[in-house]
Structure formats: structure tokens, C-alpha cells
Symmetry: C2
């Protein structure tokens, strides 16, 4: 900002957000200029428009949005800022698209420490630069103390789909294989380990990560064999597979022995009375692929750092009831149903 805006610098060490920071006036301009712009720095934000412009070649695009309300805001392996970047990039990537741009809207509670806001904005900026997907436009609102919980962030992303690719659950066919990119439950357990009422010791960190590089490698390997991809976040792998079963009109059969679960996650879940199948992930994907390409796609996944622990966990089966069934490690069978109630509020 220019010479007109002379003022005391924001106190980024001990200062707090107040209602004036959401007013549309000078205080808000300072907050944007001194805190958000340096963290997320790029040409679009520097222009100071209420919207960001970009050029696209013609073709198929996707848009997705997600609100992030994770509690606590900081957890092992990430924070609400990096999570809001990764999560929305992943929703774009699950369509096979290359993510291009993000927007970010902050709803901040009056009294929130500026140092925490700085830390979150820095983390967003770092995640966004690492992923090569800039945050090109944003918004800041402030609500009175007690009317929010620290900060909520909504990110929206746009991306471009490679020509000829059209993934959707409706494409899944009986006999297709189900691939999972790595261990389940890490994010949910990492967040829960920080909850005041649950605090327990664990070395587990969130798997929060941007998956578009892994997806690009899978698309490059067998574009025609990919039916549908999803990231199993809220509700875990169980919710995602039930959703896919619903939408595809088929059933899924899993093999429990093939499901990658870290021993520490299994132990924490047992302690908490949870099933890792229902615990949120933030850096994992599940893909339904044609049977004859399953091995080559799995190999491509394992060759990528974010797919090292990838596994073939099951297949699509004929089932008018659209059930997700699992052959357990003891050789028995069980239905993996949707969870009816709320298991883990504010996990993302």
C-alpha cells in the first residue's frame, strides 16, 4: 500500500484481531497489506482487486469448495492453513484435474491473536507455494468474541481437466479393482491427540498433503483405466466407499488384511473405541480402476512419495443392496455401513 496509509504497524507479536479489521476500512487494509499479502504473496493479491483474473485455454474445468473448522487449529503435521490448501487441492485433483488457483475466505473471532493468524497465513502460503497453486483472491470477516471459534477458513479451487478424462462413480464396473494410496486414520488420530478432553501420547502426525502430483502420475499411467477417485476425509474410507457404492449402483468387497493401518493408529483407535475405517484422512485417495490396469497404476502410485504404502484393498462386486462388505483378517465377513451419528466433530 502507498504513502496515504501511515499508521502504527500491526503488533504481530502481541496484538489481537478486533472488529475494525473486518470493517472494510483502514484497519482491514492494514491487516491485508501487512499480514496476508506477505504470507501469500503473488501478483494477483498485489493488484488489490476484489477478484482475480487469469487466462485459460478452452476445455473442461472444475470448481470445488470446502469450509475448514478443525479444532484445535494447530495439530501434529499441520494446521488449519495448510489443511485448507491441501484439502481443496485434493478435491480438485480427485476429478483428475490439474489445480490452478485457490481463493481463501477467513472468518475470524474478535480477540484472535495476530501471531496465530500470521502463523496460519504463513502455513497457507508455504503449502500453496509447495503445491504450485497460488491463493489469488480472498476475503476477511471478523465476528464478535464468542460468535466463532478462533478462525474458520473456506477455500475454493479451480482446475482444468485433461482432455478426454471424465471420472465419475457411475463409471465403476463389477470386477474393477480398488486401490488405496496409503495408511488410514492418521489425520483423525493426530487431531484427536490434541483435544483437551482426550489428550493422549502418540507419535502420529496428520497425513495432510496435496495429492495432485500423485494423481498426475496415475493419469499419465492409465488415463482410460481410471473410473473414479475420492479422498476419504470426514467419515473415513467407510463413508467414501458407501458413497461410491450408492452412486455406482454396485457393491464393494474389501480385504481387511490389505488395509494399511499404522500400529500406533490402530492402538489409538482401540483406546478411543474407534474404527480406523471411519477416521478422517487428509492425504490419501481411493481409486477404482479397470482390473487389467490395476497393477500398473499401483506401481505408479508406489513410485510416488505420497503413494509408497499404496495397496490393492478390494474390488467392485455385483450387489443390488450396494453394500460395502469386508473379509476380516480372521476370514469372516462384515458389513461396513455408513456411520449413523457424529463420530469426530471438527476433524477438518
Amino acid at each position: 500500500m502507498s504513502s496515504r496509509i501511515k499508521h502504527r504497524k500491526l503488533d504481530l507479536k502481541d496484538g489481537r484481531v478486533d472488529l475494525a479489521h473486518g470493517s472494510g476500512g483502514r484497519a482491514m487494509a492494514h491487516l491485508i497489506a501487512e499480514l496476508f499479502q506477505p504470507s501469500l504473496d503473488n501478483d494477483w493479491l498485489r493488484r488489490g482487486n476484489d477478484q482475480a483474473a487469469f487466462d485459460v485455454a478452452g476445455g473442461r474445468m472444475v470448481i470445488t469448495t470446502d469450509g475448514y473448522v478443525v479444532s484445535p487449529l494447530f495439530f501434529p503435521g499441520g494446521d488449519i492453513g495448510s489443511l485448507a490448501v491441501h484439502g481443496t487441492i485434493n478435491d480438485i485433483a480427485m476429478s483428475g484435474a490439474k489445480p490452478l488457483y485457490l481463493s481463501a475466505a477467513f472468518i475470524i473471532e474478535e480477540g484472535f491473536p495476530l501471531s496465530d493468524l500470521q502463523r496460519i497465513a504463513d502455513s497457507m502460503g508455504a503449502a500453496s507455494r509447495a503445491a504450485g497453486v497460488p491463493v489469488v483472491t480472498g476475503d476477511t470477516k471478523v465476528v464478535e468474541r464468542g460468535k466463532a471459534d478462533g478462525v474458520f477458513i473456506t477455500t475454493t479451487g479451480v482446475g482444468v481437466v485433461p482432455a478426454g478424462l471424465d471420472l465419475s462413480a457411475q463409471q465403476a464396473q463389477v470386477g474393477d479393482k480398488v486401490l488405496l494410496s496409503g495408511t488410514i486414520g492418521d489425520h483423525g488420530v493426530a487431531v484427536m491427540s490434541q483435544r483437551q478432553n482426550l489428550a493422549f501420547e502418540t507419535s502420529i502426525v496428520s497425513d495432510s498433503a496435496a495429492l495432485h502430483g500423485l494423481v498426475a502420475a496415475m493419469v499419465a499411467t492409465a488415463p482410460q483405466a481410471l473410473r473414479v477417485m475420492r479422498d476419504p476425509t470426514r467419515g473415513g474410507l467407510a463413508a467414501t466407499l458407501n458413497e461410491l457404492a450408492q452412486q455406482s449402483g454396485a457393491g464393494f468387497r474389501l480385504d481387511e488384511q490389505q488395509l494399511p493401518v499404522r500400529p500406533e493408529v490402530a492402538a489409538a483407535c482401540e483406546l478411543l473405541g474407534l474404527d480406523p475405517l471411519y477416521v478422517a484422512n487428509e492425504g490419501k485417495l481411493v481409486a477404482v480402476v479397470a482390473a487389467d490396469a490395476a497393477d500398473s497404476v499401483l506401481a505408479a502410485m508406489r513410485a510416488h512419495p505420497l503413494g509408497r504404502d499404496a495397496a490393492l484393498i478390494g474390488e467392485v462386486v455385483e450387489d443390488d443392496h450396494r453394500f460395502v462388505q469386508m473379509t476380516t483378517s480372521f476370514g469372516g465377513g462384515r458389513i461396513v455401513d455408513w456411520l449413523s451419528g457424529e463420530q469426530l466433530p471438527r476433524i477438518c
Copy 2:
């Protein structure tokens, strides 16, 4: 949704949102299927993907995002739902772009009445259909009672800029004219009239409206003469003109006699100790246009229902200090500065 999801219908009359509605499980699927999808109905939402795909011709696009935290949620002339549609369409339109698609992310407080959520979703759907801009993807999060304030909505929009159009504050030149599309202060006064601690009688309704039709008429009239457009929301016309002065490196001179203000708004502002220049608008735009095209653009604005009260309110002047100055009705002069503090929290 299909046969698998059999359950008691949502109680849309007396039911309330609970944490399970944000869980990623069955309850959330019901909320989406029974409440959001019918209100916002379109092919994209019906597909049930985490992202929406659309085809674009090549060219210049824009993206914009805004969080809405207005309190109270319902006010004369609109509610948070219609506001979230109009406001984001307007941020797209201010670049001269045609708005194409919207996303909507809801953060809902546990215990929020489903009937109010239904009313808000219906209002969003109606506003979106009237504007011809569908809500193609969304997200729902629920936080515990006392951790939010009813509902917050973040909408993001994308649009396409007509070839050759490139509006920005930097294009404003000394001698350009400033056009305003109608009366100022209506939205802010309408919302304040509903605040419990301020309640007063007024017939004023919010001006909340989607301005892309008005913008299209202006672009059609004189595309080369339009320098920059903004919608004077938070912080009112004063904040918007100061922002434009900053970014353009010039000053602005207004003529108070030309400023359209409804007598009821002037009276309410006097009662509340406010200046209508600082009060939010949600259906107005200010445009800087080349002097020789000002009359024709003004005529085009007045020919549109949302620009009936349009006026030429001032001009761009040379000023190294980048001040916004106003010739008052009494012939004197004053500086119209940014507001330093928070005047009206949660007005949008």
C-alpha cells in the same frame, strides 16, 4: 439418493441441525439430499461429486470469494442466502465479467433450526435462478453450539471477461467522471433496523441485488470508456473511493448535491449518528468512465431497472495525496477519509 438410504425424513418444521449433519456420514447425506439439493437444484449438484465440472471457451476468467456473516440473518429486502448470491455475483460483475457459476460453503451452529436453514437455502436458490448463475458445488460443516452464530456462508464465483475488456483502478485518469448507480446506505440501514439493540421503525429495505445485467448494459454501451467499477459494500462509498484513489494514484472530488440518498436513510443515519457515505450497499456500483462517454453510460444505467437513480457524482482530479474530497451542499469542502474504526460490524 437411492434405495439404500431409508430413514425418517428430516423434520423441516421443528428439527434442528446437529453435529451428525456435518459428519460426512448418513445424516449429512440426508441434509444435502432433502434440504440443499431441492432448493438449489441443478445437474451438477445432482451428480453428487465433490467438485463440479463445466466447459469454457478459452479466454480471460475471474474468480472471487466472500464470507457472509450478516446479523441478523433475515432483514428487510433479503437474508444471508440471497446476499451471498448477490454479493459474489457483483464482485465478478465489477470486473466486467459475465458470472457463470457459484460455489457455497455453509458453516452451521449446532441447534440451528432446519426451517431457517431451509428458508435460507430457498432464498439462495431463488436468487441464483433469477440471476441465471447456478450454485454448482458446496460444502456443509457443523460446529458445536456457541462456536458460531447461526450460519455463515462463503460463496465463490467464476466468470468470463469479454474479450478486450480490462478494468482496473490503475486505468483511471484525471478528468474521468464518477458514476453511481443509485441511492446509498439502504442495505446498512435496513440491517441495522433489525438489530435488537437498535430497533427503530423504517420502511427502508436492503438494496441487495445482482448487478451483472446492469454491468452488461454499461459494457455494451461504451466498453472502451469504462476504467474501473466497484460495488461499495463494507465501509460504503467512502471506503471504495479511497481504495480507488490509493490504487489509481489520483484524487476524487465529489459533489454532495448529486449524491442520491433516500430521505428515510438520511433520517435514520442522523438518528444513529452515521454518515451515509460510510454505510454499506449491496446493490449499487460506482464506475469511473472517460469524460466523453459519461453521458451515454449514465443514460444506459438509467434505462436499467437497477440504475434508475444513477447519477454523475464527481470526477477524478490530480492529487498527490490521493484524497477523496467533497463539495458540500452548502458550497464548502471536506475530506472524505477512510473510517478508522469499525462502524457497523456484520453488515454483510
